[in-house]
C-alpha cells in the first residue's frame, strides 16, 4: 500500500524545490550572520567612542592627554571603522574592543596622574609645615 502511495508522488519537482529551499536557507543564514556581525561591530565601535569621549574629559581634567593609550585608542577606533566599511566585521569588532579598553586605561591613568599631583602638593605643604 505504501508502495502504491509512493508511486503516485512525482519526486522530480520536489527535488527541485528542495534544492531551492536549501539555497534559500543557506543564503538567509549567511545574510543573518553577516548582519549580526555588522551590528555587533557597530555596537563595539559606539561603545569605544563613548569610552574615548569619557577618557578625553578625564584626561583633560587631569592634564594628562599625552598618555600613549589615548592615541592608540583613537587610532584603533578609526581602523575599526575602516575595517567595518570594508566588511571585515570580526576585525572591526576586535579593534573596537581594544579601543574601548585602551580608553578605559587612559581614564585610569589620568586619575593616577591627578593623585600624583595632589601627592606632590601635600608633600610640599608638609615640608613647609615641618620647616615652620
Amino acid at each position: 500500500m505504501c508502495k502504491a502511495i509512493l508511486n503516485t508522488i512525482n519526486f522530480k519537482p520536489i527535488r527541485k524545490n528542495l534544492f531551492v529551499a536549501f539555497f534559500a536557507t543557506s543564503f538567509f543564514l549567511f545574510s543573518s550572520n553577516a548582519f549580526a556581525g555588522q551590528s555587533e561591530a557597530n555596537e563595539a565601535i559606539a561603545r569605544a567612542e563613548a569610552k574615548i569621549e569619557m577618557a578625553t574629559r578625564q584626561a583633560g581634567l587631569a592634564g594628562n592627554q599625552g598618555d600613549q593609550s589615548y592615541n592608540m585608542s583613537r587610532d584603533r577606533v578609526e581602523t575599526a571603522k575602516s575595517a567595518l566599511s570594508k566588511g571585515n566585521y570580526d576585525s572591526a569588532e576586535m579593534l573596537a574592543d581594544e579601543a574601548a579598553l585602551l580608553a578605559e586605561l587612559t581614564g585610569e591613568k589620568a586619575k593616577l596622574a591627578a593623585l600624583k599631583t595632589s601627592n606632590e602638593a601635600i608633600s610640599k605643604s608638609n615640608a613647609q609645615i615641618t620647616a615652620n
Binding site: E98, L101, E108, L115, N126
Partner: protein, 274 residues
C-alpha cells in the same frame, strides 16, 4: 605470505613528524604576560584594586593560548593584547591605591605636624607667661621686702605704715622731695599688686584751728594720693581722710613732737577673704 610492516611504519612516523612540525611554537609574549599576571597577583594593592582586571586578563590569556595552539594567530594576538591591557589597567589601579594610601598617610602627618606646631606655640606662650609670672613674683617679693623698711603695724583695717618722717612744712600740704622718694617702694608694690586698696589718712600738729587743720590734713592725704595716681595707681583704689590734730602720736609742745604729729598713715586694706 610475509607481511612487510616497514613501509607503513615509516609512513606513520613521517605523518607524526609533519604534524609535530605543524604545531605552533610557544608564544613568548603569552608566557611573558602569564609571568606578569603572577607578579600582579603577588602585589597586594594591584591584586585588591585590580581584581576584576586580573580575572579578565587571566581568561583572555587562556583564550589567547588556545587560539594560538589552534593556529588562529590574529584572534590570539587580539586576546593577548586585551590581556596585556587588562594587566595595565590592574597595575594602574594598584598604583592609584598606593598613591591614595601615601596621600592619606601624608595628610595625617601634616595634621600631626600642625597639631605639634600649635602645641609648641602654646607651650612657648605658657613658658613666656610662666617667666613673666616668676619675674612678677620676684618683683612682688622684692617690693614686699622694701615695704618692711616702713614702720608697719597691723591694725583692724590692714597693714598700716606711718610716714612720720615725710616732711610737710607747717601749714603746707605739698610733700617734700624726701617724702616722695620714701613713697617709691609703696608705688612699686601697688603696681605689682593691682587688687590692693589703700587708705590714706592725714594728720597735723596743733598749730592753727581745728577746722583749718582738718582741711590741711585732708589736703596732705590728697597730696600723697596725687603722687600715687601720677605713678599709675588707679584713684579708685585709694580713699583719703583728714583727721586734723586729733590722734597725736607725740607732744605738740616741742618742735620735734609736732613734726612727728605732722604725718600721713597709709593702710594697705585687707582684701575681702583675707
Amino acid at each position: 605470505m610475509k607481511t612487510n610492516f616497514t613501509k607503513p611504519f615509516f609512513l606513520g612516523a613521517a605523518i607524526l613528524a609533519l604534524s609535530a612540525c605543524a604545531t605552533m611554537a610557544p608564544n613568548q609574549s603569552i608566557q611573558d604576560a602569564q609571568m606578569r599576571l603572577s607578579a600582579d597577583y603577588n602585589d597586594k594593592k594591584t591584586a585588591e584594586r585590580g581584581q576584576g582586571d586580573l580575572a579578565n586578563a587571566k581568561s583572555a590569556l587562556a583564550l589567547a593560548q588556545t587560539l594560538w595552539d589552534n593556529g588562529e594567530t590574529e584572534k590570539s594576538n587580539h586576546q593577548l593584547f586585551m590581556a596585556q591591557t587588562y594587566l595595565d589597567l590592574a597595575e594602574t589601579r594598584g598604583a592609584q591605591a598606593k598613591v591614595e594610601a601615601s596621600n592619606t598617610s601624608m595628610q595625617s602627618q601634616a595634621l600631626l605636624a600642625k597639631s605639634n606646631n600649635i602645641i609648641a606655640d602654646k607651650n612657648s606662650q605658657i613658658n613666656a607667661m610662666n617667666n613673666t609670672l616668676t619675674t612678677r613674683d620676684q618683683q612682688l617679693a622684692d617690693a614686699q621686702e622694701q615695704l618692711r623698711n616702713y614702720d608697719m603695724k597691723t591694725t583692724e583695717l590692714g597693714s598700716t605704715m606711718v610716714l612720720q618722717d615725710v616732711s610737710f612744712e607747717t601749714g603746707r600740704s605739698e610733700l617734700l622731695q624726701g617724702g616722695v622718694n620714701r613713697l617709691q617702694p609703696l608705688i612699686n608694690y601697688l603696681s605689682l599688686s593691682p587688687n590692693t586698696r589703700v587708705r590714706i589718712e592725714g594728720y597735723t600738729d596743733n598749730v592753727g584751728g581745728s577746722q583749718y587743720n582738718m582741711g590741711l590734713s585732708l589736703a596732705r592725704a590728697n597730696s600723697v594720693k596725687a603722687i600715687l595716681t601720677n605713678s599709675n595707681v588707679n584713684s579708685d583704689r585709694i580713699e583719703t581722710f583728714g583727721s586734723g590734730y586729733e590722734k597725736p602720736v607725740a607732744t605738740n609742745s616741742t618742735p620735734s613732737g609736732r613734726q612727728l604729729n605732722r604725718r600721713v598713715e597709709i593702710t594697705l586694706l585687707k582684701q575681702p577673704g583675707n
